[in-house]
């Protein structure tokens, strides 16, 4: 092997070490994504699995952007699925982190216990989270309805997943329950990096508790918060499982979101071409958030990290 220069050997090793990962990324991410783009310009249906569909240009996109249902789907995705749930998740996550970091809790020796409690939803798979909450909210025998009936707050059991007024809050609750611990734990980790003397100095200067939070604590948390926010948006926007398992996008199509629309158009209505066009539209919106994410996390910072 002496015939190769040291540099060539290094290049050789780098190539072989990266090759398997690269192969996986290209064959399972890039190639299917490009194929999906091609599909979105065809009218392919399930019966044409082998033959493929005909080229229809932008027809699928025009149909998606002009249909009446699409407005509902887009609104559900942007408002309920993403905006409401991400806001609540960050807000509650911050609240939990502050609570778990409070001196009172550690003086009562509750810190370890509360960290354990935080692990429970985090370790619960989404399917199980949906099952647990559907049972909690079940009209007959479900603990929430039992409690509300027993205390006399309501006189008739509420069917949370069937009632239009409660179905979205139910889905959001399940998502928030399952995903807040990650936010809380990450924020707690950054809270613990704040030097105590900073807070003390602020309180000596006569800062109120709110001012301490606003001008000392919050700036410290900002980098973590912004990364968590963007990551949550990206992961939530294309989330399929919570809506699908809780309501199957129903009642009717009331809670339909873009991800469930992609699935239903392909595997219920059997219109693979149209479904792909919905998917591509989603990907374009996500790419914008992805670009923002790379900006905030900073490709440069990643480069620092790799060396």
């Amino acid at each position: 092997m002496k015939t190769y220069s040291a540099q060539a050997q290094e290049r050789f090793s780098a190539f072989f070490m990266l090759f398997p990962t690269f192969f996986v990324i290209i064959s399972f991410y890039f190639y299917p994504a490009l194929y999906n783009l091609e599909l979105s310009f065809t009218d392919m249906e399930f019966t044409q699995l082998r033959t493929g569909g005909d080229w229809v240009g932008f027809e699928n996109y025009i149909e998606f952007f002009t249909s009446n249902d699409s407005f509902n789907v887009a609104f559900n995705t942007v408002f309920w699925l993403t905006a409401v749930s991400v806001t609540l998740r960050l807000f509650l996550g911050l609240l939990f982190a502050l609570l778990l970091n409070s001196k009172m809790l550690s003086s009562l020796k509750l810190s370890t216990l509360s960290r354990l409690f935080l692990l429970v939803p985090w370790a619960t798979p989404p399917v199980v989270s949906v099952i647990a909450w559907r049972w909690m909210l079940e009209p007959i025998g479900g603990p929430v309805n039992e409690f509300l009936l027993y205390t006399g707050i309501i006189s008739e059991a509420i069917s949370f997943t069937a009632d239009l007024a409660t179905v979205w809050p139910t889905i959001v609750t399940i998502m928030v329950w399952n995903t807040t611990p990650l936010v809380a734990v990450s924020l707690l980790a950054s809270l613990q990096t704040i030097p105590d003397d900073q807070i003390e100095a602020a309180s000596l200067d006569g800062a109120t508790r709110w001012q301490q939070f606003r001008f000392v604590t919050l700036p410290y948390l900002m980098p973590t918060l912004s990364v968590l926010c963007l990551m949550s948006i990206i992961w939530t926007f294309n989330n399929f499982i919570y809506v699908w398992l809780t309501t199957l996008a129903g009642p009717g199509t009331y809670t339909n979101v873009m991800a469930t629309e992609v699935y239903m158009k392909a595997f219920v209505d059997l219109r693979l071409g149209y479904s792909s066009a919905v998917g591509v539209s989603m990907a374009i919106i996500l790419a914008a958030f992805g670009a923002l994410y790379f900006r905030v996390v900073g490709l440069s910072r990643m480069q620092d990290k790799v060396g």
Partner: protein, 278 residues
């Protein structure tokens, strides 16, 4: 029972009360759903509704196993463990190359891997289903293993790159002086050193695969091939819901993740937030 009066927090009864109340609400919100599922899995539901309380029973567990629940458990373990092992192996080498070699386009490669982590799998279900169906790869555990390897890999590379930066490069250089090849360095020097990080990465990957639903739903329709999340959800029948079976199945599906999470939570957190907290 305060032993250290100096450490006693300033006495603010209202604030203290609020914190205790907040803690109670927090604890209730976090634990109640899991508690009711666990409790319900050991009860016979029809009796408990009628009488308000019921004795403990293993009826629900016997029922789901008589219905073949263990097949889903075995399938899930088989697919997820194999995919995790594969993903860790290829990610370790990729992460090593990214952290130790400099070459043109390295930033781009790392960016592409990071992009994979944010990639919306929902838009890949059509092409993957079509390509797999054409080649007779649906309803196959081998396909699921490859797909889950692809799902796990980007984040594993990201985590491992983080752990690798904590290992000084002088170690590699010394080994090269002694004539060790790069592959030998990874397997014999680096791997033992980042074992804790590798275990955390593997755990995270396993959990990702263990709870995956969408791709399994798309690619597995054969009853004997289904993974746990798919099998579990079937107890929501068309008209009737078998709550006892759902709860027992849920308890079994959550046990491995809970056992894995407990010892590893601290490591996971530091790995997850390393990009954000500096």
């Amino acid at each position: 029972m305060v032993d250290h009066p100096a450490k006693k927090p300033p006495s603010r009864p209202i604030e203290g009360g609020l914190i205790v109340l907040a803690f109670a609400l927090f604890a209730l919100f976090m634990v109640a759903p899991a508690y009711y599922v666990f409790k319900g899995s050991f009860q016979s539901l029809s009796i408990s509704i009628a009488s308000g309380s019921a004795g403990w029973t293993l009826k629900n567990y016997f029922y789901i196993f008589s219905e073949g629940y263990h097949i889903y458990v075995i399938n899930s373990f088989l697919v997820c463990l194999t995919a995790t092992a594969l993903a860790c192996a290829i990610s370790l080498f990729a992460a090593y190359a990214l952290s130790r070699f400099r070459f043109r386009g390295r930033g781009l490669v790392f960016g592409a891997i990071m992009g994979g982590q944010l990639f919306p799998w929902i838009i890949l279900i059509n092409p993957i289903f079509i390509l797999f169906a054409r080649n007779g790869l649906v309803n196959s555990h081998l396909s699921m293993i490859f797909i889950y390897t692809a799902v796990i890999t980007p984040f594993s590379v990201y985590l491992l790159v983080g752990y690798l930066t904590t290992i000084p490069k002088s170690l590699d250089e010394a080994a090269i002086m002694d004539g060790a090849s790069r592959f030998k360095i990874v397997t014999q020097i680096i791997m033992p050193l980042i074992m804790p990080g590798l275990v955390a990465t593997a755990t995270y990957g396993f959990l990702q695969a263990w709870s995956e639903y969408l791709l399994a739903l798309t690619l597995l329709s054969d009853e004997s091939k289904k993974t746990l999340p798919l099998g579990l959800y079937q107890y929501f029948g068309e008209d009737t819901v078998n709550w006892g079976a759902l709860m027992a199945g849920s308890a079994i599906a959550t046990l491995p993740t809970l056992l894995l999470f407990l010892p590893l939570q601290k490591k996971l957190v530091s790995g997850l937030t390393q990009g954000a907290v500096k």
